[in-house]
Amino acid sequence: MGINLSRYALFGLALALTAGVAANAVADEKKNWGAYQVEDRRSGYTYAAPETRAMQDDNFQNPGMLWAEIGEELWNKADGEAGKSCASCHKGPESMKGVAVSYPKYVAEKKNLENLEQRINRCRTDNMKAKEWKYESKELLGMTVFVRHQSLGMPMNVKVDGEAAPFFKKGEEFYNQRRGQLDMACKHCHEDFPGAQLRANVLSEGQGNGFPVYRLKWNGVGSLHRRFRGCNKQVRSSAYGYGSDEYLALELYVMWRGRGLPVETPAVRN
């Protein structure tokens, strides 16, 4: 019994030390992040370099706003056999205010989750009788950025109970599953070491509130699923497809992790 106790005591010490390392890593910036921090959750904005934050803060400098402009043009443009534009039904884009915060969400007729990209495409096929836009096309990114941007600053609030619960659980499992030759789970970087330097980058909490983001490394805007794919490949794991069930579940879990953080689309990140 005495041995058992000391065993747990040692394990506890190991945990405490691990936590200590993570805490040290973020201790350098103990500042008031305002809306960018909710309880212990911090937007990627707070881990970004000051010049990157400045780029995001100024709409005229934020290169992601070019995508919002693409979306704005498409909003008023009729497309498809029904001859409708988004504006035909939704009127002004301000009607989209608050819409983005609850995506992805469970949709009964699909018996599945649907993210905002897919919701936009469903509107196109069902109501406009237009073709779907491809994932990562400038049209779908542009419209997603534009619609999310209408909720700028509003707190993220996805539903994870009821019909969404099994999907949430699946997303959580994905998040904690080691994968790839490097054998790492999402949580190992984004829960255990946010704030720590990983080579040239500072690890963040992997929050989704700014997506689609303008990423300096991409020299363009990309979706959250693109980022998932990049992360998966970095640990030398085979990625899932854009809009796959796996990534939808992960998207729900990630958005829940960032609950209360403000929509920042289009955020600017490293």
Binding site: L10, G180, L198, S237
Partner: protein
């Protein structure tokens, strides 16, 4: 304990080892000294050919091989930019651990701490969804592990 541990960090790692042992064996571990000692190190080299420290330095720095600097800082290699801070700094690591202890930490650190972020550099099975071009292969081959260890062994305080 067969060894005297002097720093809390080492003691903590031993704690992790005991836990993993308990988890793997799924039965009560008796006094444990022998098993614990066995889990803290890996005495036998992976190759007959002794490690080459000069080559090991290359394995350490190469981003497609050890890429150790992604997570660890090493003053002795400050000519390389961007050292990580996810793992402990490695200056003087050979004064803190024996080569046998380092070997286990490189080969399969999860034997010591099941929840560590550190990859197992010489493990090719039991992995989830490995990209095709890496499937069935460890991150480092046996000789690269031994070369790396020969280099780590030069990092004395």
């Amino acid at each position: 304990m067969s060894k005297k541990y002097t720093t809390p960090f080492v003691a903590a790692v031993v704690g992790g080892a005991v836990l993993s042992l308990a988890a793997v064996c799924a039965q009560p571990v008796s006094a444990g000294t022998v098993e614990v000692a066995a889990m803290t190190e890996m005495k036998d080299p992976l190759t007959k050919q002794p490690g080459d420290a000069a080559k090991g330095k290359g394995v350490f720095a190469n981003r497609k091989l050890g890429n150790c600097l992604a997570c660890h800082k090493l003053e002795a290699m400050k000519e390389q930019s961007f050292h990580g801070e996810v793992g402990p700094p490695l200056d003087g690591v050979a004064s803190r651990y024996s080569v046998a202890e380092l070997r286990l930490r490189v080969v399969d650190p999860k034997a010591l701490n099941p929840d560590t972020i550190m990859p197992s550099f010489y493990k090719s099975e039991g992995l989830h969804r490995v990209l095709k071009k890496f499937a069935g292969k460890p991150i480092l081959d046996a000789q690269q592990v031994e070369d790396l260890l020969a280099y780590l062994a030069t990092l004395k305080e």
